[in-house]
Symmetry: C2
Amino acid sequence: MSTTEKGGGSLLIAWQLKGKKVLIVGGGEVASQRVDSIMNTDAIITILSLSRNLHERTRKFISQFPLSIQLLDKAYEHDTDNTKLLDYDLVLTALDDFEVSKEICQFCREHRIPVNAADIPELCDFYFGSQIRDGPLQIMVSTNGNGPRLANLVKSRIVKALSGSEGAAISKVGVLRVKLRERAPGIGGEVGKRRMAWMTRLCNEWSMEELGALNEENAQRLLDEGWENDRVPSPRALGIKLSRMQVPSSSNNVLPGFIGFCAGLACIVTWKWLRQ
Amino acid sequence: MSTTEKGGGSLLIAWQLKGKKVLIVGGGEVASQRVDSIMNTDAIITILSLSRNLHERTRKFISQFPLSIQLLDKAYEHDTDNTKLLDYDLVLTALDDFEVSKEICQFCREHRIPVNAADIPELCDFYFGSQIRDGPLQIMVSTNGNGPRLANLVKSRIVKALSGSEGAAISKVGVLRVKLRERAPGIGGEVGKRRMAWMTRLCNEWSMEELGALNEENAQRLLDEGWENDRVPSPRALGIKLSRMQVPSSSNNVLPGFIGFCAGLACIVTWKWLRQ
């Protein structure tokens, strides 16, 4: 896995769409996947599609989140809808009609509106990828258009490798950082550096699962006993003990080891028994 | 890990910047990290910074890739540089001066130029995250601003979980798709569906490591013997045999199992020996 490899790729970014206006043109299955993705972001979504063409999932989203999603019950029309695109911060098309997608994309590009046309990579400013979400943790897998199926296989490998505590750990660390900033305020400078160094030490010395087990009480003790004395207490010292379920998956060596052990015993016993 | 969780997150996307113009304002360490990220994309990069402030790594990039990176050896100036921002498709600032960053971001936002200001999340249209690249495979880990250190820990877990063959597999599948499309051309329709179904079967039946072992010759045989007869031959039938190194890491159960087996043998032998 090279970190020096250059060119031929994309810039992977986390786009902030809170309160921004997103237009999705189309109502089919792919459009409903787009709605699903955008719902992560607290954007205000408009769907331009005849109501009768709406996918079941989109219909559910609309009835579930009427304040976030609005339906314009009509097909896209060249003359009247073109300039209305200017009202939006992001436009996605998911249409069977290549010419309409092309027209929308061209208009958007001329007016610097980021645009994606499903299944037409050459018209896209950006691609979607396979996504994982666990609270504040988001992971994206992109094959740069080389194979969506393999993106899903890589995604499965990643999901298997995570313990499921990462999202909780990240949330807890986020809250702790806010508390620490309240206790030792100031942007940048010496105090900023000290805060950052202490947080880094904490994240290095505690496992993700131990960070995820922080609660109101032991977070308070962590700051009182740790930060104030410029040290990082052990999780055990604050009463954090992980259950067997929470231990990260690298300890899964135990099961095959145990099976091997039993097989070893059985082998010798059988051999002795056969020789008797 | 929930897939139904909504809101509070970002839209993770793979931005396409090939041939696009990117401006990086600043010359320090963070600016050099930005250059590093953008170098993935075949964009044309302009760095606006006094030459004497340039980070060593950026200096190296400029001398290594003079056609992709240009230096404007000056500091940002309010009156003259403002409208020049319109020449760019993407603007990144990495400055100590908050006011200058703010001014640049405001101008960009008014003119729909995507913009990121390092360390000032509230000014950003998008965030960066921890990234992994293996050829056409790109993975991004975002904590939505909750802890860059933890993003790196999650990244390490992911790197450990990958066999290192994923990038090669994705490349090979990409080439195979192109060859298949030459052999059975046509956009969409019946042939499109058949192509997609066959590729999906292949990706399901072969491991990532086996796909990565495809070469010119056995790819040809795969299409001749497989596609033409509407079946997926086994890798072994095409002469693909993986070396021990290439077997995915899930088979790492073998080592702990073997150690357990030996421990079991040793246990019984010791017990017998003590009883003698």
